[in-house]
Symmetry: C2
Subunit: 357 residues, 2 copies
Amino acid sequence: MSKKYNFYAGPAILPHEVMKKAQDELLDYKGIGLSIMEISHRSKDFDEVMVAAETKIRALLGVPENYSVLFLQGGATTQFGMIPMNLLKDGKADYVNTGAWAKKAIKEAKLFGTVNIAGSSEDSNFSYIPKNLNLSSDAAYLHVISNETIGGIQWQNFPDTGSVPLIADMSSDIFSRELDISKFGLIYAGAQKNMGPAGVTLVIIRNDLVENSADNLTSMLSYKVQVEKKSVLNTPPCFAIYIVKLVMEWLEQNGGISAIEATNKEKAKLLYEAIDNYPMYKGTANVEDRSKMNVTFRLTSEELASKFIKEATATGLIGLKGHRSVGGCRASIYNAMPVTGVKELVKFMEKFEQENG
Amino acid sequence: MSKKYNFYAGPAILPHEVMKKAQDELLDYKGIGLSIMEISHRSKDFDEVMVAAETKIRALLGVPENYSVLFLQGGATTQFGMIPMNLLKDGKADYVNTGAWAKKAIKEAKLFGTVNIAGSSEDSNFSYIPKNLNLSSDAAYLHVISNETIGGIQWQNFPDTGSVPLIADMSSDIFSRELDISKFGLIYAGAQKNMGPAGVTLVIIRNDLVENSADNLTSMLSYKVQVEKKSVLNTPPCFAIYIVKLVMEWLEQNGGISAIEATNKEKAKLLYEAIDNYPMYKGTANVEDRSKMNVTFRLTSEELASKFIKEATATGLIGLKGHRSVGGCRASIYNAMPVTGVKELVKFMEKFEQENG
């Protein structure tokens, strides 16, 4: 195998067609004699990119009209602060603690109000999604992490929150499966898993939440200002947004979200079957909560896991080391990971089992 | 002339050698089989890029050891908020009002303390740099905009602030001239003029200011946290930082800051001489405060200016329309604008004068 496959948790690989097009256009965007990163963010050419990116996102995800789509900076970590800053306003919010990302979001929220931990799987090192939530009827919102990259767990169905807005960090699984956006008050995602390069953050927010958000925030951190300025309060990360647009085109051309969801299910099935079928491997996540994006597993010993990772790397399967808090291995199989990449990994797992089992 | 020259105020053109190298490496960074934007920000390959970018910036600008170099997100506008949030702490700060950018910085600072306007050129539509400043001995800092892109004015010498930290937004002239960093407490710059693509912000901050900065801020907005985490609290804008590194290499290979400063002086001289020599053109900035980055001028009427811009565009000289608040024309001639581009513009000005004078 000469081709390499990157199973890192992120930044992830991008579709080859996208990278090829970006390369072709890098010095001369549509015959203007300049790169897309060398022109004004208020020029007609770049404005078309922004509009197309938003239009495609709206179409792919079925975003209702009463939601705004924002392209911000600073990743999900900035949203961990912006959300309570704008929406908590010294009130109370419910958070579900499903792992490292949820803990970071909770830490930031505590600066701006009261946090009620509505559920937690910390007792089992975040190997499952809590089921019976202790929700507050007066919460400003319920915050969940759609998919935890470290524990390898994913909400298969989102909780019903009634009139309380549901907020989800979808950094690691946006565009991987069909969603009913109308069930959410706000979703957000750093680009670098399923959307584009690091440096742009997608925020989809229901307009009544924008209207009721806090005043007197610095402009960059105010949803009101960002919505009013249509994400161009200042120079946006133009090149990253351009790549997002290309990724959305790639999704469209490949059948949209339903098609990529089917492929993602197929990839996850192949890997989890290998884990379940070969005695050497053991999945770390609760079976019904298993992530289709980050597949976590251990070998019979950490020494064997090290050997597995080393030999996999040598054969071109890179980034398989699990997060230190879980150990073992992790295969991140985001949208751009082709089925062939997963098949190569499964083949390697089989071979390694035979040689070391 | 078949080649196009972009005189937009930003995002600006990047050196051709940089864009060419980025294109060559886009699908396969140093033989790893992946793009630099497709690998983990904690991988060895990307870490080398970060370290090299910082090392080169330190060498080019002569950054003393007691300063930290940060790669953040959100542009200068985010710093307009972060600076008072971290350093003003309900105290008083001096700001010089030199134009649109200064006004934005002042507006954000007022959310976090008392702002003393130490000088202003608003009385003349920001056509000069205020000279006799009303500085406060107890100010947390003095804030200036090194170069105002709209009015086309630039600090030629920075004020002596004694023990009060001097803070400068250098978004539009960083790396264009030699600096004595030790005279500043903090300098910052969005990348998209002289440094790289939009999406990364350089902050150079003296460590005692970091130590004395506010606590209880959200992580992304805390200088303490960002310095402690060496700009990788979360995924940084990897591709933008990679381009910054390439631009720094280009600066090194072309003689460093002193050489680019000489070229910038030559370009500005050519343009201002044309403005002063041909009766049709009139510079809008006070002569001694003229910017070497953004050259602003009017024609004898706004109708003639429109004709000038239209014909210039047709011949490949684009982005010459002045900001609506000043009118007339503006030629932004950042580091990557070659002398030949400026000569083409001067040639066009001469021809236009002959045909319409």
